[in-house]
Symmetry: C2
């Protein structure tokens, strides 16, 4: 049973990639282009990217399954010595064109670790989803978090609070002292324990994965036709710069990809299509831009009564 | 004498900042804006930035002198335990608007390290200058390297080769397996030794610093009026993405700044004004863009006969 979890999960993310790319592609009336690739040291993946859509300026949805020896540089990170690993997951980043539509990121992954006799010594799930708006529509953020909470609540009443807080602290751009976005869920090292078997965790991750489109799509549909000015677009491009800073300086997923000789174009497909860096840009006090910044400096409990 | 090197060098970089910003500002008929800033833990700086020029889309020239306790995260890096440090330097990055004009980066810096009794235990210079073109004009690259070599040759016939190679290996974007640009000079830990006293090193760094405008300005003047297409501009913005990747993932200077609680806006003023990331972009075989890429994959000896 346990030994087949990697096949079960990979099969699931294949289907999930299909349903996400079909739905987004249909909405934007554009197909994702697909690249199948192999990793020299073992494994490979299926990258799907849509660029230049009228709704989605750049959207990447990637699945991969890689395996081999755990690179020395990652041994300390995982607290093991020489080991073999297997890792598979789906990861996506969607950059809409309209600054009123938030960027979204999601990732669901499964790891196995083996000793030198090929015996599995550890296995766990991780993942989450999080929203990065350029303009704050509180009802959108509340909707997103409500879906996150509903998925969590089916498994444990404490999960939403716990994983929402982990999300806020993980996606913290320390050198800017602000959050990357308005959060969502982030969980990691979800291992078999008294309450949850590894199969239960699989069901949990599947629940969250299946709820992704329910969390994000209504926001896109509500906002993508909204008018915006060149100034709104400039602000979006500046904020996208912070997204780049987080991903290249702090993100462990990017680091893991770069250190395991991952496929660069699939790792960096997360980077936004057009970005600006202006020196010491400050939104004017009381503006919509400042309103967003304030929320990023001080993460909120979106579902507080 | 030795104890005053930090004042001597800071005085020099103040003057050098003046002459560089005056010259560039005069050429573009625009003034640099100046920000004076202080660092909470000790020291501060003077940042000068020009944005939106017709020649220079974004140019930042920063000087700073910071001091205090060496952060724990940097102790291993410098191979010391608890210590106090002083660091000052000038650092600049110039992003021209016209894709036919290369980006340039330069940095000259001086460090002192003290034990807990405030006794100086080490002192050294470092720095360099390097060119990042978007289109390859070999004569421009050769001119730049010739000036680099002339400065080096006044001190040691071996310096140019040594520091040119260090530059190629330092500005190597490992995850892309290509150079950031076409190089120049990079030197570090230049300490008093049999051949060169610390005062000699000061003279060397001053020679290289003084030659910066001679190395770069003629290239700007020759190319900035050249016509270019929207496609040339797109290529420039894509290549600027590689510049961002290097600076945020690999650059030790950026890392040092972020880890010593440096002024974020002065550290990140190096990031280009407008950047694009396209998925898996490949220039067509035999194009001018491919010609540049080939040179970046395989650094050349520009002054070979």
């Amino acid at each position: 049973m346990k030994q087949k979890m990697k096949e079960k999960f990979y099969h699931y993310i294949e289907q999930l990639q299909d349903s996400i790319t079909e739905t987004l592609g249909a909405l934007d009336k554009l197909d994702f282009q697909e690249d199948l690739w192999e990793r020299l040291e073992g494994g490979g993946g299926r990258t799907r990217v849509l660029e230049g859509g009228s709704i989605f300026e750049k959207a990447g949805v990637n699945i991969s399954a890689v395996h081999g020896e755990l690179p020395e540089s990652l041994q300390a990170y995982f607290g093991v010595k020489e080991a073999d690993f297997f890792a598979c997951g789906l990861s996506l980043v969607i950059h809409p064109r309209n600054p009123m539509v938030p960027t979204v990121h999601a990732n669901w992954r499964y790891f196995e670790m083996y000793d030198k006799d090929k015996t599995m010594i550890d296995q766990w799930f991780g993942g989450g989803l999080d929203l990065t708006p350029y303009y704050l529509f509180e009802e959108d953020v509340i909707h997103f978090h409500k879906i996150c909470k509903a998925g969590c609540d089916k498994f444990n009443q404490g999960f939403y609070k716990k994983y929402k807080e982990k999300c806020d602290s993980y996606f913290w751009n320390t050198h800017r002292n602000e959050a990357r976005g308005v959060g969502g869920l982030f969980f990691d090292y979800c291992k078999s324990n008294k309450e949850m078997s590894i199969d239960d965790w699989f069901e949990f991750v599947r629940e969250i994965g299946d709820s992704f489109l329910t969390a994000y799509l209504p926001i896109v549909e509500k906002r993508y036709k909204r008018e915006y000015s060149p100034e709104n677009r400039t602000w979006q491009e500046i904020r996208r710069g912070r997204y780049v800073e987080f991903n290249l300086v702090h993100d462990k997923g990017t680091l893991f990809g770069l250190k395991t000789n991952g496929r660069i174009e699939s790792i960096l497909m997360s980077l936004p299509p057009v970005v600006q860096w202006k020196y010491d840009y400050q939104p004017s006090v009381g503006s919509e831009e400042a309103k967003l910044e304030n929320v990023l400096k001080q993460p909120k409990d979106w579902l507080a009564q």
